[in-house]
Amino acid sequence: MAEIIEPFEFKQCISILKSTGKKAKDLRELKNVIAGISDECIFHHTYQYFLKGHILEYTSDFAHWAGESLEERALSEHLSNIDPYDFKSIHDLRNKLLEVIDNYLENYPEPREAMPGDEFYFNETVTLIFPVGIRAKNLAEFLTAIKYIDSGSIYYHFYEARIRLGSGIDDFSRWIEDALGKKELAERIRAIDPFMHTIEKIRVLIVEAVEDEVKRDMEVIDRCLTGL
């Protein structure tokens, strides 16, 4: 009897932006607000950066603002080097952001103010998770689905899952390893660097990896037949 495999249920999330009403016009104000703002706000400007069509030069809204609005290249590089997934809590991540800003203020000339209207606006989000009505029972179905689903679903399973499950692992590779027992493919997907690609590029890389695996599985059958 065939083994029953737990299907992969595709979900998606949408986030509705909420303003905190706070803004910063220069680096010192940014630092002061970061020190006291909600965890949800820090979460939004770091982890959720990937939900937007982001520029690959930056990894957070703070780095983006430092680069684009303050035009402080070195500061934006320092901030972009912070990997939010390295931290066990928002508290630790917040402290790292403050440390990087403090170091910059100590070692570099005072940055200028942002132009009026170009201040840093502190936001947070509320998130709604929902099933998209697609289930994959095997790798071939998974391959079809991953090509078809919206990019928001890839964000949910590839980025958001790392925080949700607290293990830094995405949903796709977890299912491929746990339900299908394909450790090598799971590791190939885990090796995709979430910082270095757009969501659409992540989709392409996953499709390539899964397609290779599906082809290999078919080739095994071919070899068996040849062996006969």
Binding site: I14, K18, K23, G117, T125, V126, I129, V132, I149
Partner: protein, 403 residues
């Protein structure tokens, strides 16, 4: 109606919309604003209410009535919230309140969720009986005349939540401040695909020649839209490339200043045969659609803007848009990708020349612009977001909710 969005709007937006609507089946959802036609708010409500009803929600739209003095006051409120100095007296605020009180007597304000649009009907909160009340602000509050905002915020703070169009428009007030961008309806008369003969019909009606590139701005005749600046930019560009300019706008019933600005524009255009000033009556949607589709380049050279939905309308038609870098325009135009952002008459003129001389860049920009609108600025996404806010209000205190 709803089915017609299949294949146009992102599929998961439609799915989530149906899931949320099922949860609010037969619940009442009331919208109130101050004009039935003219301007982006009325346009969205005209399209959104029937869809909500089709999805099984008991949606209603009411419009408050006022005398000319009331609309003169609310126009001043609007302008001063966007930064223009205006004088206010206690008597004016009293009249604002009094007209709302009279409207509250006539309107049925009972509903499970109520959205009050913009400052005109804001005092209605005093007459709230039940339900969730949200103040939906469509204008830029980032630099208001503070005395006007302070007065108005006495009403706003009584609401359960506010919704702003852009994060930087929000004020620091002690209630929930959601950010939801507005949207366009791809199926409306203003945005649907048109046949060649429908476009030609409009062009011949207004006697617009088609032998030269058309530069177009569609907007109310309002100083914040800088129609005179558009003429200046056109005159600079025309020294290098032969083209014509169309300035087209509808009057709005809540805008007494429109006539004054229109005369200024006419005077500045000074009978230039290549400038077409079209004062379109309300419900000229098909003509606006045809003008946008026949344009080579579309301008929205605002110097102050709420969101600037005409930008998304133009982008949806695959046109390159040059917009002022104000209000919600930078959310729609990703500079150099889905259009160009400009900060001056000279900047606008330069981009007009650049696009007229590089039709392949213009075409690629238009194509990217259309997809950007499809994923971010269609009506279905906005309805989805409104219902999401309502859903969150019913799950108080939670920041993540699973359906």
């Amino acid at each position: 109606m709803f089915d017609r969005f299949v294949g146009i709007a992102p599929k998961t937006d439609l799915l989530l919309l149906q899931m949320l609507a099922a949860r609010f089946h037969k619940r009442s959802f009331l919208h109130i604003n101050s004009t039935r036609s003219g301007g982006g708010v009325a346009e969205i409500l005209q399209r959104m209410i029937p869809i909500l009803q089709e999805l099984g929600i008991n949606a209603r739209w009411e419009v408050i009535e006022g005398d000319p003095v009331f609309f003169d006051i609310t126009k001043k409120i609007h302008n001063s919230l966007q930064g223009n100095p205006e004088k206010f007296t206690e008597k004016m605020w009293q009249h604002h309140y009094e007209i709302n009180r009279k409207n509250a007597e006539k309107l049925t304000l009972d509903a499970d969720a109520v959205i009050i649009h913009d400052p005109q009907p804001a005092p209605l909160i005093h007459f709230k009986k039940t339900g969730l009340w949200i103040w939906r602000c469509h204008i830029d509050l980032s630099n208001p005349q503070i005395h006007v905002w302070d007065y108005l915020s006495r009403y706003i703070e009584k609401y359960d939540a506010t919704i702003f169009s852009v994060a930087k428009f929000a004020r620091e007030i002690p209630i929930h401040k959601f950010v939801i961008t507005p949207s366009i309806d791809p199926l409306s008369e203003k945005n649907r695909d048109l046949r060649e003969e429908e476009i030609n019909e409009t062009l011949s009606k207004f006697q617009i020649p088609v032998d030269r590139p058309i530069i177009l701005q569609v907007s109310r005749f309002d100083r914040f839209k800088d129609p005179v600046g558009v003429i200046k930019a056109f005159r600079i560009a025309k020294k290098y490339n032969d083209c014509i300019l169309i300035l087209a706008g509808s009057p709005a019933t809540d805008d007494p200043e429109g006539e004054v600005v229109l005369s200024e524009v006419r005077e500045y255009a000074a009978d230039d045969p290549d400038i077409y000033i079209l004062l379109l009556p309300p419900f000229s949607d098909k003509d606006i659609n045809a003008l946008q589709r026949s344009a080579t380049i579309i301008l929205q050279k605002s110097v102050k803007e709420g969101f600037g939905l005409t930008v998304s309308e133009s982008m949806w038609k695959g046109k390159p848009v040059i917009g002022g870098a104000v209000g919600g325009i930078p959310l729609q135009i990703i500079h150099g990708v889905t259009g160009f952002l400009v900060n001056s008459v000279e900047g606008a003129a330069f981009r007009v020349r650049q696009l007229l001389n590089n039709p392949e860049i213009a075409a690629k920009m238009g194509e990217t612009a259309r997809e950007h609108v499809r994923t971010n600025f269609l009506l279905t996404r906005q309805i989805r977001d409104y219902l999401s806010v309502w859903y969150f209000a019913e799950h108080k205190g939670k920041t993540v909710v699973e359906i």
